[in-house]
Structures are given as C-alpha cells and as structure tokens.
C-alpha cells in the first residue's frame, strides 16, 4: 500500500455513515463478558430478528464503567446515543421496544449519553458531565467502549495510524525529541523518562535492535493494560512501530500474559490485518521502513513483568532477573539494544506524535506529565477504569470518580502500586497523584491499581495478603527475596493467628530493610513496601494483634470470639445444629453458650440465628 491518505477518507466516510444508522452496541471486554455480555448480545440478536428491526448490531470493548456491566449502547440517527448499565437478557425486550422502536430512552437504566453532535435527551447525564467521567480525560482510553477493536477501519477512522504516517515523514531524532518534550514517563511503574530511554537505545551500538512491549500486567488489582490491549490493540502496535522507526529497530515483540486470552486474540487479529494492509511488514506505507511484530504469550510468572526477567522469558529461559547494568537499552533481548516499554506507554505515543510533545506536557504536574489510567477497585461504589490528569488528588479519585465508599462505610486506606506499593491512610488523601509524591508517601504509582479499603479491612491481613503474593511469585534467585519474603509472611501469619510476640515488629522492620536494600531486582526491593507502609500508618493495628490478641477490624478469625447474648437467645437450638464442632450447648428454651475452646470460629451459627443473639467480638 502506498499511503493511508488514499483510503483514509473513504474509511472515515463509511464510519460516519455507521453513526447515522440505528445501532445497538454491546460491551464485550473481558469484564463485560464476565458480567454476561455475550448472553445479552444473543438476546438482542433474537429480539431484533423477532421484531424485524433495521438495526446494526456491533460490539465494543470496556468503556471503563465496570460497576455498570453488562453495558449496552443504543443510538438513533441524529440523537445522542445512550449507554445503559446493568442490562441483563430479561431487560432486552423492554429496552429495545422503548428506545429503538418508540424512541424513548429508559432513563432509570441509563448511565450516560454521548452526544457526538446529536440531540441530547432530558434526565440522562452527558458523558463529560457525568459524575464518573467529569474529572477524567480520555486520551489513551478514548477508543475504549467507542470503537470495535476487531476492525482496523474503526481505528483508522478515529485518527489511527495518522501518528505513524506523520512519524515516517519526520527525522527519527525529531520523534525522540518530541517524546522528550512530552515528559512522558514509563507507565509500567518505574516512571523512567521514555524519551531518555529511547535516546539510549538510539545511541546504543548494535547491528540489530528490538522493541519490546511489556504486556505482562500482573499486579493484583490492575487491568488498565488489559483494557487497552483488548480495546485498542492497534494503538499499541502503532506506538511500537513509531518507536522502531525512531530508534532504528525493525522487530518488535509483545510479551502478553497468558491469562489474557482475549487480548492475545485481538492482538493477533490486529497484526494480521495490519500486515494485510501494508501497515505492518516490509516497506510500510510505501517507505523503506520495515517492521515485524510478534506476540509472545507469558507462561504464568509475575516476576516476568520485571524487564530483565521478561527478556529471559522471551529467550525461553527461566524468568529470573538479570543483574543491571548492563541495561536492556545496551544489552537486552539476545544481548542486543532493546527498547522496552509497557502497554500504556506505547499507546500514548501516537497521540504525542500527532499532537506534539507540548500538547502532552500541558497536562499533569511539573514532573509527571500527561494522563494516567487507573483501575479503581475494592470497597467503592464505582469500580472501573479511569483516565485522569496527573496531579489529581487521591480524594477526587476515590470520592468523586469512584463514588466514595460502598455500603456507607468509612474510608480506611487506599493501596496504590500493587504488591510493590503501599497503603495510604485518610491523612494522605490530598496527595496529588504523581510519581514522586506517591513515593514520598511510601507508596508508588506502580502500573495504576488503586484498591480502596474500608473500615472493615484489617491492615495486618492486607500486608499478609500482599506478602503471600510476592512470596509465591519470588523467582528464587536472590537470598533476601527468596528467604526473606517467606519469613516476613510467616511472621505476619503468626501475628494474625494471635501468636505474635512484641519482638516481631522489630524483626519485620529489620528483614524488610535488608530485602529493600539488598535484593537483586525491583520486585524484591519493593516487596516489603506493604509491610513498611502498614507499619508506618497502622502500627496500632499490629500492636493490638500482638499485645491484646485483638483484630480491631474483626477480620482475623483466630482473634475473633463468638458469644451468645443471653437476653436475646430464646433457646431454639438452631445454632446447636448449625455448629459443625459441637461447641454450642444449652437446654431447650434456656440461653445457650459457646465453648470458646471448641469453637473453630467458622461463623456458621451467626446467620442461622433469627434473633441476632450471636455476636462476634
């Protein structure tokens, strides 16, 4: 293919026509499917056929409102399209009849409406003004939930590959300069300036260079890379191609975790169609730039998110980190200079090339530019994906976008940065989100997972949970991480089991310090962070577990006791039957008692009591 320009206008025209047709679009990202989106799609097909409607059916990826899945969008020519949330097969008939046939939106199921020039409806918030999106910016996520990720036409019609087209007319160094001006920092967690990294690889001497995309998103509580991979695969490819042109590489590898089958499927489709169209392969868009791209599926090891471990894994070895230096920019894949960035970083590149580095740098804070995609999870009302400008405060994210704490409970902590990050308490809620202030608070940006915890969360239990994860995922190469995380975990388990001793806190701190300062790779060095931050902000909880054998949040089973309130117990005997270990005794119609020495704290008796006579303390 010569140039995209020739086909772009016809593609754009066809795309516009599509928007002038009656249409129903179902969100079919992994979360949409998990919530039952596929069944909803089937129900819609049946209904549309039954009524003989002239309606286009399509699907898209995750728009970000995970809390509202399954999500269905309905649009009529000349009118705003309405995004409905919580749509189940049984709702389909009524929705179609009302919206598509009678042209009356069902306001109580509508989440937002997207105007795109069309007339808006009363009583439904417009996307940009809706509580969930008002404080967001949509750049990297702009196509998510808006285009069909399996059609390259949708990508091109929305500005796709225009960045590559422009890049191919630029000097490679000028592209690197624009990335430097943009101030973009690595979105995988490290926060290393992307332009500087590209410069290193461009300057490195080597007959062959590689572009590697780290799509091994493994942090529990993080799924922004998955959402972009599934929702906008071409953007990542375009970013990698631009990087390849800029630094002089003609081969790229996407290392994607195997737990993301849909992402791998869509990437494969995207690569095949791009090759077919001459956007990928030899003589791209009629220039002499060649670029080859392949996918390498991970095999289940969190540590492969560490860049040198990832390179070993691509080479077919055990994913154990390498000693640095040499850095991958000098000796990376097959010992060749390698530019390694994560999904979100690459996905930002086409926008930066198209709009210029200055445009990107106008968003964000002094040292953290642009926008960042976060995953909001935990005990909040609106779980989902949110792209926000750097510098927004944690409070705005938790209370405005995420809609505050679920079930009217009190906020306790927010965990930022995955297992390597830290738990920040309410006092830190006004911290602006950027690389440096999160680190000063003891947490880190990480890849962008924000797990919100309420008052019912035990912070020692949380630390134990993260250490269990890092301990299981330690590669085993270096002593501090392999042996140290195991001992940290064992001590935390002991404390939660009520067997902690006062010296344990010192031992935890001593071990954590050695692991932090001496472990081989960043994963080991950051593994103690959950322990260190919970000790810093919630030390009293550790002390309560150790000294008073009490779990203030009422989470650690070994520290709970169950008792029967005499006044409330009518002696019905239901709890006696419910108890699997015979710990409850009592005469009929007289107050029962629980033998604490027999009780296994399973809690089975509590929901059985109709009189709320059994209490947990």
């Amino acid at each position: 293919m010569g140039s995209l320009k020739e086909v772009r206008s016809s593609i754009e025209e066809a795309y516009k026509k599509k928007l002038d047709r009656p249409r129903i679009i179902v969100g079919l990202g992994t979360c949409g499917m998990a919530a039952g989106g596929t069944k909803v799609m089937a129900a819609i097909e049946t209904e549309v056929e039954k009524l003989g409607l002239d309606v286009d059916l399509d699907f898209t990826s995750c728009i970000g409102m995970c809390y509202a899945e399954p999500v269905v969008e309905m649009g009529l020519p000349g009118a705003a399209s309405v995004v409905y949330g919580g749509v189940y097969p049984e709702d389909v008939a009524q929705l179609i009849e009302s919206h598509m046939v009678n042209k009356t939106p069902v306001t109580d199921k509508a989440e937002i409406q997207i105007s795109a020039g069309g007339a808006t409806y009363e009583g439904i918030p417009v996307m940009e003004k809706s509580p969930y999106y008002e404080k967001q910016v949509r750049s990297v996520t702009s196509r998510l939930g808006r285009t069909n990720p399996e059609r390259i036409e949708d990508y091109i019609a929305t500005g796709g590959y225009a960045g590559l087209e422009k890049a191919l007319t630029m000097e490679p160094q000028e592209i690197i300069n624009q990335v430097k001006i943009s101030g973009l920092r690595g979105r995988g967690g490290g926060g290393f300036p992307t332009g500087t990294k590209w410069q290193f690889v461009a300057d490195a001497v080597g007959d062959k260079k590689y572009i590697v995309c780290n799509a091994d998103e493994g942090d529990p509580g993080a799924f922004m890379d998955r959402s972009v991979l599934e929702g906008d695969p071409h953007a990542i490819m375009e970013g990698m191609m631009i990087a390849g042109y800029a630094i002089g590489a003609n081969e790229g590898v996407i290392y994607c975790r195997a737990e993301y089958p849909l992402a791998i499927k869509r990437l494969n489709m995207a690569i095949a169609v791009a090759e077919e169209m001459g956007i990928l392969g030899d003589n791209i868009m009629g220039t002499d730039f060649n670029f080859k791209l392949r996918i390498k599926a991970g095999a289940g090891a969190f540590v492969c998110g560490e860049e040198t471990a990832l390179l070993n894994s691509i080479e077919g070895k055990r994913g154990m980190p390498r000693v640095r230096p040499p850095f991958p920019a000098h000796k990376g894949l097959w010992q060749k200079p390698t530019c390694l960035n994560n999904v979100e970083t690459f996905a930002n590149i086409p926008f930066i090339v198209r709009n210029g580095g200055d445009w990107y740098a106008s968003m964000g804070t002094e040292k953290s530019k642009g926008s960042k995609v976060f995953c909001l999870t935990g005990k909040i009302n609106n779980t989902g994906l949110a792209e926000v400008p750097m510098g927004i405060t944690l409070r705005e994210v938790v209370f405005n976008i995420a809609g505050g704490i679920a079930d009217g409970k009190k906020f306790k902590a927010v965990q930022s940065g995955g297992p390597s990050g830290g738990c920040l308490p309410a006092e830190q809620l006004d911290l602006p989100i950027d690389y440096d202030s999160l680190i000063s608070g003891g947490a880190m940006m990480g890849s962008g997972g924000l797990v919100v915890m309420d008052e019912g969360t035990c912070m020692v239990d949380v630390a134990k949970f993260f250490l269990n994860f890092t301990q299981l995922e330690s590669c085993g190469k270096c002593t501090p991480c392999r042996e140290g995380t195991k001992r940290l975990l064992e001590i935390l388990e002991r404390i939660c089991d009520g067997l902690g001793v006062p010296e344990d806190i010192d031992t935890l701190e001593r071990l954590a310090k050695t692991i932090k300062t001496s472990a081989l790779c960043a994963l080991g060095q950051t593994a103690p962070n959950p322990v260190l931050t919970t000790l810093r902000y919630f030390r009293n909880e550790y002390e309560a577990h150790i000294n008073e054998k009490r779990c203030p949040a009422g989470v650690c089973p070994e520290l709970l006791t169950y008792a029967i309130v005499e006044d409330k117990c009518v002696g019905c005997g239901v709890c006696i039957k419910a108890c699997p270990v015979g710990a409850i005794t009592g005469e009929k119609k007289a107050a029962h008692t629980i033998d604490a020495s027999k009780c296994v704290k399973c809690g089975a008796c509590v929901p059985k009591c109709k009189f709320d006579a059994i209490v947990q303390a």
Binding site: Y67, E259, F302, G316, R318, T457
Partner: protein, 163 residues
Amino acid sequence: MAICKCTGEQVESPQDVQLMELLEHYREYDGALIPVLQGAQDIYGYLPGEVLETISKELKIPFSEVFGVVTFYSQFHLKPRGRNIIRVCLGTACHVRGGSKIFEGLKEILGVDNGGTTEDLRFTLESVACIGACGLAPVIMINDDTHGRLTNDGLDKILEQYE
C-alpha cells in the same frame, strides 16, 4: 505417520504426530522452548516426562534446563489435568470481597484441594492471583469463561454448565 528426527523411529499416535509438527514449526525460531511447551501442553493436556525429553532432544536444550523452565512457570503441569480448569481469583479485590469463601466452597463441592483434579478428570481447581476482572469481584474463570459477582449459592449452577 511421522518420523522422529532424533531416533529415526516412526511415531504413530496422533498426539505424537502433532508434537512433531509443532517442533518442526519452531525449529528455526529463537526462544522456541516456551511456545513449544505451551503447544505440547495443548496437545497432551499436560507435559509428560517423555514429551519433555523429546522436546529437549529436538530443540537441543539440556533436559535439566527444560525441566527447570517447566517448573518455573505456573502455567505448566507435569500431571494430567481436568477437562475444565477452574481458576479462583484471590487477587486483592476478590480477597476483600470474599474470594476465599468461594474458593473454600468450591473445594468442598469438588472434594479437591488447591491444584487438585477430580477423580473423573472433570475439574481441576486452582487459585490465581488476579485475572483482571476486579470490578466484578469475586470472580472465577472456568476455561476461558469468566464468572463474576459470585455467591456460594450460585456455584453448583455454574459448574453444571461444564461437562
């Protein structure tokens, strides 16, 4: 029918033929070991010792190293597995929303422990750190299907869908 490159013997089982084709496909590929192991596990359902030995010989990678790689990655299995793989997410979000109760419930229904396979080879039960569907916690994945917002009461019904 295919010929094994190293022994010159004819291999006859359809799985062995597939393995030979797989090895042929990856012969000139840099870093072939992991994709070959993934392919072999798709063919056999797990990675029997003899298959690892064949892979070692064909790719000219020491047998001990092949074993080292297999045991490093949690995706690879040295023992037969169930027809349906249940992965219970115990990630952060699922953890705070009761994922471990779901896990306990499944253990009880299936009568197996973490990593265990039911006698009829119908199910293998595993825990997984995070499958990235945190907004729907607690979540499990059966084969490639994700089931979210679970309660213990609904588990039987979900399992019924898998033969």
